[in-house]
Symmetry: C2
Subunit: 349 residues, 2 copies
DNA sequence: AGCCTTTTCGCAATCGTTTGCACGTGCTAG
DNA sequence: CTAGCACGTGCAAACGATTGCGAAAAGGCT
C-alpha cells in the first residue's frame, strides 16, 4: 500500500519569506543577498548566513513570481516545422546549450509548416513571457509569424533562413559557396549537364540554392538550363521521387544531379533506381545537409555538411546579445558548409 | 534607418485591468467571463461583451501570473539524455502533441547521461513550477533524479524504462516479446549459435533485453551461453564496435548477433567488416529501434521497430490522468515492438 | 562633539490573475 | 406583503519575488 497522504503533502517548496523568518531578517534582505548583483548591498556576515540557510533549506527561487515582477522570464521560444526532421535536433541542442550558460530556458514548438498555427504559437509564446524567439521555419517572405513578432516588438533571430528586410538577425549557411563547391566538384569529374532538384519555391533555402546553382553553373561556363531545374513540392523523400520523375519526363539528358536537401536526394535515388539508372555509374548525386547515416546508405551520399549545432549556438548568442542591448545592430552571420565527397559522385562516362 | 523608439515602446500586452476598463466592469468579472468554467456565473450579455473586447484587443492571459496565483503552470518537463539521438524526437513529438491538446507546454532538458546534472535539472524544473515530469533517461536503479521527484511529490512518468518499485508509472516496449520474435526469426532461418550485444548493465533496456534474450534462447531449446553475451559500454556506434571485438576475442563461434540497439548494430557491422566477416553471409545481424535510414544502409538492417511516437503520447496521457487525479493508481503500459525483416538476416549456411 | 557620508537593512508597492466573500438587485413563494 | 433565494457583480486578499525609497546604525571628518 502506498502512502498517499504523504505523497499529497510532500509539496513544500521553501519561499523567500520562510527563509527570511529562518534567518531573522526581512525578505528584501534575503532577496538581495541571494542575487549576486545586489549582494554588495548587504553586510557580508548576513549574506553568508542567508546563503547558508538557502542551501540548508534547499531554496529554489520561484521563477514565475520573479518573471511576473520583472517582466523577464528568462525563456526563449524555438519555432521549428517538425522536431522529427533530423535537421532540427542539432540546431536545438546548439541553442539550448548556449542558452543554458546564460540561465535561459527554451520552449520548443512545432508548426508542421502551418502558417496560421505559427501565429497561434507566437501568441502562446508571448503569454509565456518569452524574451525572444528563434525561428527555423522555412518560409521565405510573406510570413505572418515574423510580422507578428516585429509588430509586438519581440526580438527574433532566424536560423537557416533569411528574410527580406534587415530588421531581423539571422544565421544561415552559405548556400552560394556550398552549391558552388558541389558544382565545381562535379565539373572536375567531367560533368557538364548538371540538373538541380530545387526545394519548394516558397522556402528560403529553395530559392537561395536554386539561385546559387544558376550562378555556379554560369561561373563554370556551363549552360544554366532552366529545363534542368525541377521544384520539389516539399522537403521530403516522396517529393524528391516525384521531382525526379518530372525531370526525366522532360527528356533532357543529364549526368549529375544536385538536390537541395538530403531527403530530396534520397527520393531522387529511388526515382533513378526505378528508371533503371544507377548511381553513380549513370548519374552522380549530391545532397545537402549530411543527415545522420547518409554516409552508410548505398551508395554513400556525397553531400554538403552544414554546421547545424554551431548555427544554433550562434543564433542563441545573437539573441542573448540583442536581449542585453536591444539597440544593437541586427546582423546576419553566414557559416560555411563543407562538401563531403562520398560514393554517390563519380567521373562522368 | 530603423525606428528604434517604436521598437522599444511596442511592448504592450493588454492586461485584464485594461480589458475591464474597456468594457466597464471589474477585473474579476472579466476573469470569470474568460474562463469557460466560471462563465456561467456571469450574465450572458456581459460575457459576450467581454469576449468581444478580448478578441478585439488581442488579449492573451499572462500565464506567469496565473501560474503564480494557482500554483499550476500547465507545464511539464521532459528529461532525456540527448535530443540528437534519433530515438528521442519521436517520443517528444508524441508527448508534445498530446500535451498540446490539454493546454500544457513541455520544456525539454538534456542530461547527457550525467546523474548529478539530472538532479540540477529537476530542481530547475521545479522552480519553473512543472506540474509533472516525463523521464526518458536510461538509468535503471539508483537514480537520484527520480528519488528527488518522489521525495518532493512531483508526479513522474517513465518512458522506455521501468523502475524497481511500483510507485511510478511507466510506458515501455515489450522487450521480451521483441527479442523473442528476433530469436524465433533467426532460429527459423537455421541459426543456433546466436550472440547478443547487450546494452550497458546499468541501463534498464540493457538488462531487460539481455534477460529477454536468455529467456528466448531457453524457450527455443538453445544453449544460452553467457560467453555469447557482451556488454557494450554505451549505446553508441563505437561501443558496438568494441563489443564485437571483445566477442570475437573469446573465440566462440556464432552465426547471428542480436544487438540491443541499432547504434550497437551499426558498430557491430563495422567490427564484422574489419574482421573480414560479411553480413548477412557470414553473420546475420538484427538491431533494435528501427532508426531512420537503417532501411537504406548496406545491408538494410533487420530490426525491431518500437512505437516511439505512441509511447510518448501514452506517457503524456498517463501524466495528464495523474495530474487530474493524484490518487489514481500508477500503471505500466507495454507496447508491442514489431520485427522488421530486411537484408541483414539470412539463412544460416 | 557635531555633522555628514556611507553602509546596511526594513517598508511597502507592484507585477497580472484567481477566488472566497459580500453586496445588491429582482424574483418567487408562502 | 415580505422573507428568502438565486443570480450577477464588485471588493480585496492572496501567490512569491523585486526594488525604489527611507531610516537607522556605523564610521569619518573637522
Amino acid at each position: 500500500m502506498v502512502d498517499r497522504s504523504q505523497r499529497a503533502t510532500a509539496r513544500k517548496a521553501t519561499t523567500l519569506k520562510q527563509l527570511a523568518a529562518h534567518v531573522g531578517v526581512h525578505v528584501s534582505t534575503v532577496s538581495r543577498a541571494l542575487n549576486p548583483e545586489t549582494r554588495n548591498l548587504i553586510g557580508p556576515e548576513v549574506a553568508k548566513r542567508v546563503l547558508a540557510a538557502a542551501n540548508e533549506l534547499g531554496y529554489v527561487p520561484n521563477s514565475m513570481a520573479a518573471a511576473l515582477r520583472t517582466g523577464q522570464s528568462r525563456t526563449v521560444g524555438i519555432l521549428i516545422p517538425d522536431l522529427m526532421n533530423p535537421v532540427f535536433p542539432p540546431f536545438i541542442r546548439g541553442i539550448q546549450d548556449t542558452l543554458d550558460g546564460a540561465g535561459y530556458t527554451a520552449i520548443i514548438a512545432n508548426s508542421d509548416g502551418d502558417k496560421d498555427y505559427e501565429r497561434v504559437i507566437v501568441q502562446k509564446m508571448q503569454a509565456r513571457f518569452v524574451a525572444g524567439l528563434i525561428m527555423a521555419t522555412a518560409l521565405y517572405r510573406d510570413d505572418p509569424a515574423v510580422g507578428e513578432c516585429i509588430e509586438k516588438g519581440i526580438p527574433v533571430v532566424l536560423i537557416n533562413r533569411g528574410v527580406d528586410n534587415r530588421e531581423i538577425s539571422a544565421v544561415v549557411s552559405d548556400d552560394g559557396a556550398g552549391i558552388a563547391a558541389a558544382v565545381e566538384h562535379l565539373v572536375r569529374l567531367g560533368h557538364r549537364r548538371i540538373a538541380h532538384a530545387a526545394g519548394p519555391p516558397e522556402t528560403y533555402t529553395g530559392m537561395m540554392r536554386r539561385r546559387a546553382f544558376l550562378n555556379a553553373m554560369q561561373a563554370s561556363g556551363l549552360p544554366a538550363d532552366e529545363d534542368l531545374i525541377v521544384f520539389a513540392s516539399g522537403y521530403t523523400v516522396p517529393a524528391g521521387r516525384e521531382a525526379l520523375a518530372a525531370l526525366l519526363e522532360r527528356g533532357k539528358p543529364f549526368s549529375a544531379l544536385i538536390a537541395a536537401n538530403d531527403q530530396l536526394a534520397l527520393g531522387a535515388l529511388d526515382g533513378l533506381a526505378e528508371a533503371g539508372l544507377r548511381v553513380p555509374r549513370d548519374v552522380s548525386l549530391v545532397g545537402f545537409n549530411d543527415m545522420p547515416l547518409v554516409d552508410r546508405i548505398d551508395p554513400p551520399l556525397t553531400t554538403l555538411r552544414i554546421q547545424h549545432y554551431e548555427m544554433g549556438a550562434e543564433a542563441a548568442r545573437i539573441l542573448l546579445d540583442e536581449l542585453a542591448d536591444p539597440q544593437r545592430d541586427r546582423r546576419t552571420v553566414m557559416l560555411e558548409p563543407q562538401l563531403i565527397v562520398r560514393g554517390s559522385t563519380a567521373p562522368a562516362t
